[in-house]
């Protein structure tokens, strides 16, 4: 059954006024190079969390020579505490679809795939009906909007519940029918992606930003946010606050400002960026949320003073032990060791020397793991133990 978000929010960029189809029409009239120039001007970066410049990704794929190319929309929103893509897909599906069509137009792809997380399978029919609706207006099929040779179709494929499949190469492996495990990079998907063809994999929010940038211009987009983090960001706010939900706010907002907006009081800690993000304490609440200072794919989890930070950490580490794909050694065994460390602290049976060794192991995992999962999973371990050491090690 299809459900919709109850709370409608407005925001400066993504949730601003928009006429469906206007971006695609403009895109076709200004041509590929102009679109890429606008995107570059806008400074749009990947909204999944890694923050790779979108224009560069598209340019590389456009430059790759191949018989087939693909646009993949990464809707495997699996980061704990993230639910903003769900809102976009149910409230503004046209934006996302249009973003994909424009991506296809720019890179020369005729095929698009939405990799929808299995928990969102209830949206499947709804999204398919949107595609059919847009087809009536000539947005899909052959010679789209009269542009000769511009064909585009979108298929929706469901994930099967693995967190790892949000990583773009693991997502592609999963699409190809293999175990969801990351590939070696290089080669990068822009050259060797789905079925070996050049592929753009973009987050839902990234794709939804594109039509706004095309219609209103890179210059306009750049006005929001900070120098290096342009535009706005959707935040999935959860935890100890009065008004949890999805917010569109400009990059550069401080945590303190955000906490005020969402009605958080008595806040002890904020986990920025989901389970794989970092956990900040009150002395760090003046940090700006931005790629420069504290990046996030959107998840903001708020913990007030009643929470045990060790329990919070344990919860995160259990998640990673469960969700590591098991391919590479640092992530597969490393996360188990970090969790064991948390359990040792819980039982008050540990030495600080060993905990320090585990932190060093965490640093190794960050640089030695094969993909983003293992490279970020030590973040909560290290940041919670560092930022809340008085509380956690008080028993000793």
């Amino acid at each position: 059954m299809m459900t919709f978000e109850k709370i409608k929010r407005t925001g400066p960029v993504l949730f601003s006024e928009y006429e469906n189809g206007s971006a695609l029409k403009k895109a076709i009239s200004i041509g590929r190079n102009e679109i890429l120039a606008e995107l570059k001007e806008s400074g749009l970066k990947g909204r999944g969390g890694a923050g790779f410049p979108t224009s560069t990704k598209w340019m590389l794929t456009a430059a790759a020579k191949a018989d087939r190319k693909f646009v993949i929309c990464n809707a495997d929103e699996g980061e704990p505490g993230t639910f903003k893509d769900r809102v976009l897909l149910t409230e503004y599906p046209e934006l996302v679809l249009e973003g994909m069509i424009i991506a296809g137009y720019v890179i020369g792809a005729k095929e698009g795939i939405i990799y929808l997380r299995s928990e969102y399978s209830y949206m499947l029919e709804f999204l398919e009906s949107k595609i059919e609706y847009m087809r009536k207006y000539g947005f899909f099929g052959k010679n789209i909007l009269g542009e000769q040779g511009f064909d585009f179709e979108i298929k929706i494929r469901l994930g099967s519940g693995a967190y790892e499949c949000g990583e773009e190469t693991a997502l592609i492996e999963s699409l190809e029918g293999y175990r969801g495990e990351p590939r070696n990079r290089p080669p990068f998907p822009v050259n060797t992606g789905y079925l070996g063809y050049p592929t753009v994999v973009n987050n839902v929010e990234t794709l939804a930003s594109v039509p706004h940038i095309i219609t209103k211009g890179g210059e306009w987009y750049k006005k929001f946010g900070t120098d290096k983090s342009t535009g706005s960001k959707l935040f999935s706010v959860s935890g100890d606050c009065k008004y949890p939900g999805v917010y569109e706010l400009q990059w550069g907002i401080t945590l303190r400002e955000l906490l005020k907006i969402v009605g958080a009081e008595n806040t002890k800690a904020v986990q920025v960026g989901g389970a794989s993000g970092v956990c900040l304490n009150e002395s760090q609440f003046d940090k700006k949320i931005s790629y420069e200072e504290t990046a996030t794919g959107g998840s903001i989890m708020i913990f007030d003073k009643s929470r045990s930070m060790l329990e919070v950490l344990k919860n995160f580490m259990e998640f990673f032990v469960e969700e590591s794909c098991g391919q590479c050694t640092p992530c597969r065994i490393g996360n188990v060791k970090l969790l064991e460390g948390v359990n040792m602290i819980e039982k008050n049976d540990y030495t600080l020397e060993y905990i320090d060794k585990l932190k060093e192991l965490g640093e190794t995992m960050k640089i030695a793991s094969k993909c983003g999962l293992g490279q970020t999973s030590p973040n909560p371990f290290i940041s919670i133990l560092d930022n809340f050491k008085d509380e956690i090690f008080s028993k000793n």
């Binding site: 495990e181 590479c328 050694t329 640092p330 065994i333 060791k337």
Partner: protein
């Protein structure tokens, strides 16, 4: 023939990144300037960092990497630091395409490698001194290399899995597995069997068979290639040496060892010699000192195989060409390799009629020993224990096949691998390379060189051609020094033909025929050939040799570890060199072969008695798993 190439079946995540290289060897587009540990150098574009380091004598530790397999990049031990990159990069998978600065032993790199070895050891159950791979274990070597003197991240104290001893060939001890997945890639890519795959996720990841069934119940062909590529003892062969020792101790038992050519070419490696030294004479002495009652040369029964298989081929050709019998299946496929037999039984059961019915040399010898030899020497066959030293894991399965009892007894009692033989020799306190040489025992003392070259891919074909050509035309094969070079070498699939002209009157039906043949090794290549057969592309061919293992028997699953293409080439060289110096190089000229057909198998090759003792039938196994 374009179709004669295998394709990779493993996931893309475990494949190398192929960089298009220019034809020129130097200049723009062909080379790139890099800095390796502070040394500036020019390297060809597309070479991986690992290859470059090896070219420059810089040792990089590896574990999931294996020369024979595609790249996985999952153990993370070969990490190096590249200036400007946030994370360390695996040198095995990273092709150099731009000017980069690489550090192979920076602080970060050394620390990361040590951590990774520590993590592996924490989950690696068991102790080195009670392990079959002690002193030949890659994990152990790495621990030493990185000065591991304690279990930094603990050590698992109780087993997590049951040891799978169901298979007669391969034992799986998953508690020793470090999940490098070499076995998975071996099984799916090198052999195209695909019995092993990683299942579950995270900490629960393990290598499993279909539905976690015992190995004996799935489509494993027992080739043992996974054993040769396992860095630890997670996979090892089913070792019968205790029972063999018991038989040797028993005064009632007459224990006979037959030795195949490939173990003799590789056994020296187990005693510290470089690959490529044949140990035939020393092994004979060792066997006698250990208490084996007789030592026979499997090459004798290889000669016998050629007589039977060659005659069978000529019979098939006669039936097809003269009698126009449409039920005759051609090309005829060789049947010496038990891994290949089980492969075709599982994957191409509808094509079993194409196989020669001749038993493998091991099994032919078994039934001849327990009949002819027992009779001649007056020994009760019930007291004969036949031990076969083979380069092979699948021979263990083969000798246990229920149909292999045509002597009235179990024809071969034990299949022993090269590695297990080496262990037995060490147990006996013998240092193989230091022993004097001695010959084989009668009545099968001499064997021809044709039997010897069975050990290498193409050897059976070469041996068969020498005999068949001469039988048909009365002349020796038209190749210099009898060396049929087209059969030799490590190319996956080789094909060639020999024109039969001026035939003897009884073979006039072959006059002018181009005898076309194919040689393939490794079951991945066998699959290509079988698919060609399926597509009707082999209609003009007459004879196909297939060996389950890459390189043939010299690369068998029972051979010393490590095994790689360069080592296989050296072992093959040892065999061909030994062969060139032998007085008899054609199976049909072996005097002992002539003798056995005069005295025992009186109705000749493919006669009635031959059929009973030297030929067999096959089982349509298919892929259905209960």
């Amino acid at each position: 023939m374009n179709t004669m190439e295998k394709t990779l079946r493993s996931p893309v995540s475990q494949r190398p990144h192929e960089i298009k290289k220019t034809d020129q060897l130097t200049g723009i587009g062909a080379e790139v300037s890099i800095e390796l540990n502070g040394i500036k150098m020019k390297v060809p574009i597309g070479k991986t960092i690992l290859e470059i380091c090896r070219d420059n004598n810089i040792h990089i530790p590896t574990l999931c990497y294996h020369e024979d397999l595609c790249i996985a990049g999952n153990c993370r031990l070969c990490l190096v630091e590249i200036e400007g990159m946030r994370t360390l990069q695996t040198s095995c998978s990273f092709p150099v395409t731009s000017p980069i600065k690489i550090k192979t032993f920076s602080d970060k790199v050394r620390k990361a490698r040590k951590h990774i070895v520590g993590l592996m050891l924490s989950e690696h159950y068991g102790e080195c001194y009670s392990c079959v791979r002690n002193n030949n274990c890659e994990l152990q070597s790495l621990a030493r290399e990185y000065g591991i003197d304690n279990y930094e991240f603990g050590h698992i104290c109780s087993p997590r899995y049951n040891v799978d001893k169901s298979s007669q060939a391969v034992i799986r001890d998953m508690d020793k597995c470090i999940l490098c997945r070499r076995c998975v890639r071996t099984c799916i890519d090198l052999q195209e069997v695909g019995v092993l795959e990683a299942v579950n996720r995270g900490y629960d990841t393990k290598i499993s068979t279909f539905m976690d069934k015992p190995l004996a119940d799935v489509v494993c062909i027992n080739c043992g290639q996974c054993i040769n590529r396992c860095p630890t003892a997670a996979l090892h062969a089913n070792d019968p040496s205790d029972e063999i020792w018991k038989a040797i101790e028993d005064p009632e038992k007459h224990v006979i060892l037959q030795t195949a050519p490939s173990p003799r070419a590789s056994l020296g490696e187990e005693f510290g010699l470089p690959p490529g030294h044949s140990m035939t004479g020393q092994l004979n002495t060792a066997a006698r000192r250990m208490g084996f009652d007789r030592v026979f040369d499997t090459n004798f029964s290889a000669d016998l195989t050629i007589m039977e298989e060659g005659t069978e081929l000529l019979n098939r050709l006669r039936k097809a060409l003269v009698e126009k019998d449409t039920s005759v299946r051609l090309p005829q496929f060789t049947s010496c390799s038990p891994g290949w037999i089980k492969f075709i039984e599982h994957f191409y059961p509808e094509y079993l009629d194409y196989l020669s019915t001749a038993k493998s040399p091991q099994q032919m010898f078994g039934s001849v020993i327990k009949t002819f030899y027992a009779d001649e020497s007056g020994i009760d066959p019930a007291n004969i224990v036949n031990v076969a030293l083979m380069p092979c894991a699948a021979k263990k399965f083969e000798c246990n096949r229920p149909e292999m009892n045509s002597s009235g007894f179990k024809d071969i009692d034990y299949g022993l691998t090269t590695r297990e033989m080496a262990k037995m020799i060490r147990e006996a306190g013998l240092v193989l390379p230091d022993l004097p040489k001695s010959g084989f025992d009668d009545p099968f003392g001499e064997a021809s060189g044709a039997g010897l070259i069975f050990g290498s891919t193409g050897g059976v074909m070469e041996a068969a051609l020498r005999t068949v050509y001469e039988l048909v035309t009365g002349r020796v094969v038209p190749f210099k020094n009898l060396n049929i070079e087209v059969c030799r070498g490590m190319k996956g699939i080789k094909e060639a033909s020999v024109k039969l002209e001026n035939c003897r009157p009884e073979f006039s039906f072959l006059e002018g025929i181009d005898l076309k043949f194919i040689v393939a090794h490794g079951t991945a290549n066998a699959k290509v050939v079988m698919d060609m057969l399926k597509n009707g592309e082999l209609k003009d061919y007459h004879f196909v040799e297939i060996m389950a293992c890459p390189g043939g028997c010299i690369g068998g699953g029972g051979q010393p570890i490590p095994t790689s293409e360069s080592i296989r080439k050296l072992r093959a060289k040892a065999i061909y060199e030994e062969e060139a110096g032998l007085p008899v190089r054609k199976s049909h000229e072996n005097p002992h072969i002539k003798y056995i057909y005069e005295k025992f198998l009186k109705d000749g090759p493919c006669g009635k008695l031959s059929h009973k003792l030297l030929h067999t039938h096959y089982v349509k196994r298919g892929k259905f798993i209960n």
